[in-house]
Symmetry: C2
Subunit: 343 residues, 2 copies
DNA sequence: ATGAAAGCGCTAACAA
DNA sequence: TTGTTAGCGCTTTCAT
């Protein structure tokens, strides 16, 4: 067993030349003899030489690692974001370190700390819902580690931000329902905290107003988790009232799926009696019965964009140039299926 | 702007003491004066000192990074595996570097190469379907980087392996269908290449044999992608024959969902006319109509186990101790829903 | 074209 | 308890 990995020194000694010469050869520097270079390459190959990046990192103070913190990996949106990040990072020769906060602020802190110890060159983060204080991120920036925020952003952070146009997505979704002739549209939303959910609510409301539809306060259901269960029970409540909606726009797909379940149980038809619209276009949206119309977010593209931005910032930071922080708003798109269009 | 990050040297100079003293203080070594220690900590705090891990890594030849390569992140099974890996790694103070091969052998090679340059301490890998040669992994092992294989394994690799008992899972699934009184059970499988799919087929066959049921060759459908479309068309073919099955066991959940779609279109009842069973218990299994019975794999647990194993091997490698490679077979569990049980 | 020397930031061995 | 010295593996001056 080779006790230690091969070093430049080993090659230099065996060839009877100096270490810098070996280094020059392997790095294809101009100032090295053709003959020497050849010999070095051959021996390196033979000994399975692998450069020791630790030393190079120490010299360059650069790891070529991007840290990524997201709330949960097992989530259609985020796994696509990550997929975009990884594929793009690969193209630009960066590695991606991944951490999930599980929606815990403490865990997010720990992630930042771990990453800081791993000497990441930059951080892409989607905040946990429980994060209000962003000092840990500001601290990172002070240590010359750029931060790019994605989706779950925070106004207190001065950084590049990538969000998707939840407002417009919700507006168009509502508009679509209106175009079907629906007049009594309900909305199932979450607690107002997460920025994205709030935007969806706003978009919904604006569309109603622009098209001069009545806003029924009873048709607004707030639920905690925007989960399938919440969608189910909220819809049952909606359907138990005197006046029931002819369409439901749900702030998330799971909620919409719960709504579908409730509507079907009540013996009502979708979309004839009640049309249903979700948000995020989860993979499951296409397999429910009826298939769910939804608002698709440019998840993969957002990840890709985040990598572009962070690498650019890493570069600028390195050159000590000023960085202009912008917020990038990416467009959503309507995915129309049977839950609104019918067969 | 702080041009450079704070070093031990900066603290030492400002305090008029030596660098090692600062190091000792910050590392809570015993041989350091209480007073000095206090002063060092205070100044370090004030200057926002962050240790430079590059230097420590160079010294220790250790990165505390685990590399993970999987075919695709956007996949229910793998995202859960990764979730298990990350959460467990966090507990043990390791960072996780992630790469997806997108089922390409070349991409997998590139991932290994990138990771090697990032000086990972160990690799957890689930092979791409197109990987037959494993020299890239053997090469890693030769450079003292342990490798643990998960799910998609290769018999040529001498390494720890974690798989789940696809054979038994399929056996129990089939047994369940038999227990419902079903006698003409079809199986939709994939091309035999991936080990896991083959095992599922074997388990299915064994159950039929053990329970002395007829094996109808016509009821075996092989399809390329085990996708929803393939499941749909395969089932349509099945249903167009003279004799049709009274149950279908599908090698994957998407296939099963395609099968459900086809059966419903034909006006047959599930499970009364035809019961349907999937494999992997994707998130979508619970939202289709009727909810799909499936075989759940211990994905999260597999990820967790992989971290345990790799860190143990990293330790043993470091101490130059011999490693005994074992294959861990994790149990699946039946998740029974309406597609077999009825309402 | 090549070698000698210095240094990236930190820690460990040895002295004092 | 503290300082001095050396070294992790590599690259980059500066000489030659």
């Amino acid at each position: 067993m080779s006790k230690h990995n091969i070093r430049l020194k080993d090659i230099a000694e065996e060839l009877g030349i100096s270490i810098p010469s070996v280094s020059r050869a392997l790095n294809n520097k101009p100032d090295i003899g053709k003959e020497t270079k050849k010999k070095v390459f051959e021996l390196a190959e033979k000994l399975h030489y692998q450069r020791n990046q630790f030393a190079i990192n120490l010299k360059n103070q650069k790891s070529f690692i991007i840290g990524v913190i997201i709330p949960q990996i097992v989530h259609h949106f985020f796994s696509n974001v990550i997929s975009g990040i990884i594929n793009e990072a690969e193209k630009l020769s960066y590695s991606v370190m991944l951490y999930q906060s599980n929606e815990s602020y403490e865990s997010e802190l720990k992630g930042v700390d771990t990453f800081q110890r791993s000497m990441i060159d930059g951080l892409i983060i989607s905040l946990s819902d429980n994060t209000i204080n962003v000092d840990h991120l500001k601290n990172l920036q002070e240590h010359n580690v750029p931060v790019v925020m994605i989706d779950k952003v925070n106004p207190e952070m001065e950084s590049a931000k990538i969000i998707c146009d939840d407002y417009k997505g919700a507006y168009y979704a509502t508009e679509h329902l209106i175009s079907l002739g629906k007049k009594k549209i309900a909305h199932i939303t979450g607690l107002a905290d997460p920025y994205t959910i709030k935007e969806r609510y706003k978009g919904f409301e604006s569309a109603l107003r622009d098209y001069k539809l009545t806003f029924y306060p009873n048709f607004m259901k707030k639920c905690n988790l925007v989960s399938r269960e919440d969608g189910y029970t909220s819809t049952l409540t909606l359907l138990s009232e005197n006046e029931i909606p002819d369409a439901i726009f749900c702030a998330t797909d799971p909620t919409a799926i719960g709504a579908i379940q409730a509507i079907k149980e009540k013996g009502l038809r979708i979309p004839e009696d009640i049309a249903v619209m979700g948000f995020s276009d989860w993979k499951m949206a296409s397999v429910v019965d009826p298939p769910l119309s939804s608002v698709a977010q440019p998840d993969y593209e957002m990840g890709k964009k985040a990598v572009e931005l962070i690498i650019n910032e890493i570069q600028l930071t390195r050159e000590n140039k000023p960085i202009k922080y912008e917020t990038y708003i990416m467009e959503t798109s309507l995915i129309l299926r049977e839950s609104t269009l019918g067969k």
